[in-house]
């Protein structure tokens, strides 16, 4: 089985502080990988490296077998917890933007029939995330949940190979969060997406993911805690539907977010 995304011996270091050490990972196409771990365990660094926002100090990342350019690109979509929609564009404008960039390098705007086609495509995508009635609102006029729906539609219209979610539902209230879980599961299966999601919420990680990675430090030097980096300490494959529920019951989680059963 060939992996869509492969990390080979990735190290991330800031000065003498080691954040990630010797991280190896293969992500298959169509999987939904949840990444959990305590604060400071390198979840965000991991995501930035995959996104191309940051270059690892050692190691190699392959996307479809080819080395990844050290820059963000349209093959990897992203939804951040905040600030991932443009406040000066309407919902439709935000969504069409991705199409305009690809088709009009100089003006980044479309006209005539090309514009109508792009608007129709964007409208279809917005209907799919449930924003069909809010095409002409500005982000500031919408709730947090609606803004995250928009951010997802914006990313999906580029048909990214991988969708990266950085605590996408962390700032939403519980009811809205449940709606968003249903939505992202539906989009994942409808569009055959490959998703990597970083989250603080263990329950969310298990209920959404097909695979859960826990990042943490394997070793700990009490005199120089920054000299050991984190890596994937647990890699749990979930068989969707039935096994997700059982996994939730059988695994106990301590305050640091570590799996006690596995550690014992």
């Amino acid at each position: 089985m060939s992996a869509l995304l492969s990390l080979r011996g990735i190290w991330v270091e800031y000065g003498d502080k080691i954040v990630l050490e010797k991280m190896d990972l293969d992500v298959e196409a169509g999987s939904f990988v949840s990444i959990v771990g305590p604060s400071g365990a390198g979840k965000s660094s991991f995501l930035r490296v995959v996104l191309g926002q940051e270059v690892p100090s050692r190691g190699q990342i392959l996307l479809d077998g080819a080395p990844l350019a050290p820059e963000c690109g349209p093959d990897r979509g992203v939804v951040f917890q905040r600030y991932s929609v443009f406040p000066h564009l309407t919902v439709l404008g935000n969504t069409v933007f991705g199409l305009e960039c690809a088709q009009a390098p100089l003006s980044a705007r479309l006209f005539g029939s090309a514009r109508r086609a792009a608007m129709a495509e964007a409208t279809a995508m917005l209907n799919a995330v449930g924003l069909g009635d809010s095409l002409h609102l500005y982000p500031a006029q919408m709730s947090g949940g609606m803004q995250q729906r928009l951010a997802i539609a914006q990313a999906l219209i580029k048909r990214p190979r991988i969708l990266l979610l950085d605590e996408p539902f962390g700032a939403l209230d519980p009811g809205i969060r449940a709606d968003m879980h249903t939505l992202i599961r539906k989009l994942w299966s409808d569009y055959a997406l490959t998703i990597i999601m970083v989250t603080h919420d263990i329950r969310e990680a298990f209920s959404l993911g097909t695979r859960v990675l826990a990042l943490d430090k394997r070793r700990h030097d009490p005199h120089a805690p920054h000299r050991y980096g984190a890596t994937a300490v647990y890699d749990i494959l979930l068989d969707r539907n039935d096994r997700a529920e059982r996994a939730l019951e059988s695994i106990t989680v301590d305050s640091k977010g570590n799996n006690q059963e596995g550690a014992a």
Binding site: P74, F86, F97
Partner: protein, 271 residues
């Protein structure tokens, strides 16, 4: 009720806002009347009748040398210089500020230069401008531009550089290049700030305009004020100053309205 919680209705606000202005006017009238009762030829605190009289001469009778109505010619000349200066400075702020804010190599190259120019007191450059550009219009416009542009450039650059990193990353994942990010992400979000910066620069722009006109000119609001100063003509100076204040307030209001009209998304959640 605590004063921090006291919200006033619109008529109350208008009334309260008018009170200090009215008091100041009354105080002036009282002092002027006092002085005129002692000396009917007093020039220091002219009465409104005196101001109206001298201003109507400046407004209606053509200047014997140039054949133009003095007040109108002064206003037009000053507004033209001010408009040119602010226009050029605004354009520079937009182009240079955007490039400095979005592109790190440009910031590294020109950032120190812009900072260096910004700390020079513009009036100290006035002799250089007069020597290099002559005493004509160019030097006056150049003084306004040099005076306000560096601050505006730095303000726009800082505003653009402070856009959330997430937005710039997101734009790149949507396929945008540097140019597209500049014109579609940074430029529109810099526009409301640009109007704000122009509003704040109006004050300094007037200072530099009046200074340039006071030193070398033959027409303009600042020229007139400094010319009639020799005759202690407060009856002309005070109306001119009031007129400058009125023009500045009108420009400020126009810019504020323009910003709300053009960029509703930048003015609060409920537009």
């Amino acid at each position: 009720m605590r004063w921090v919680n006291r919200q006033l209705r619109r008529p109350e606000r208008l009334f309260l806002g008018g009170v200090p202005i009215a008091l100041l006017l009354l105080l002036y009238l009282f002092a002027a009347a006092q002085r005129h009762s002692l000396n009917p030829a007093d020039k220091i605190l002219p009465l409104p009748s005196g101001m109206i009289q001298s201003m109507s001469v400046l407004m209606s009778q053509p200047d014997p040398l140039s054949g133009r109505l003095i007040f109108l010619a002064d206003t037009l000349a000053s507004l033209e210089r001010l408009g040119l200066g602010i226009g050029i400075a605004t354009l520079m702020a937009l182009v240079v500020g955007l490039a400095l804010g979005v592109l790190p190599p440009v910031r590294a190259t020109f950032g120190p230069l812009v900072t260096g120019i910004a700390v020079i007191p513009p009036i100290a450059l006035l002799p250089i401008l007069f020597i290099a550009l002559g005493l004509g219009e160019t030097a006056k416009v150049a003084l306004i531009v040099l005076g306000i542009a560096p601050v505006m450039v730095r303000d726009i650059a800082a505003h653009v550089a402070a856009l959330p990193r997430e937005q710039i990353i997101k734009a790149q994942t949507l396929g945008a290049g540097s140019w597209q990010i500049m014109i579609r992400v940074a430029l529109p979000q810099a526009m409301p700030r640009l109007l704000q910066t122009v509003r704040l620069s109006l004050g300094p722009a007037w200072v530099f305009l009046i200074s340039a006109e006071a030193i070398a000119s033959d027409v303009g609001l600042g020229y007139r004020i400094f010319l009639v100063r020799r005759y202690l003509s407060m009856d002309v100076i005070i109306p001119y100053v009031a007129w400058i204040a009125l023009l500045a307030i009108l420009m400020d209001l126009a810019l504020a309205t323009l910003s709300r009209r053009l960029f509703p998304w930048a003015h609060g959640a409920n537009h």
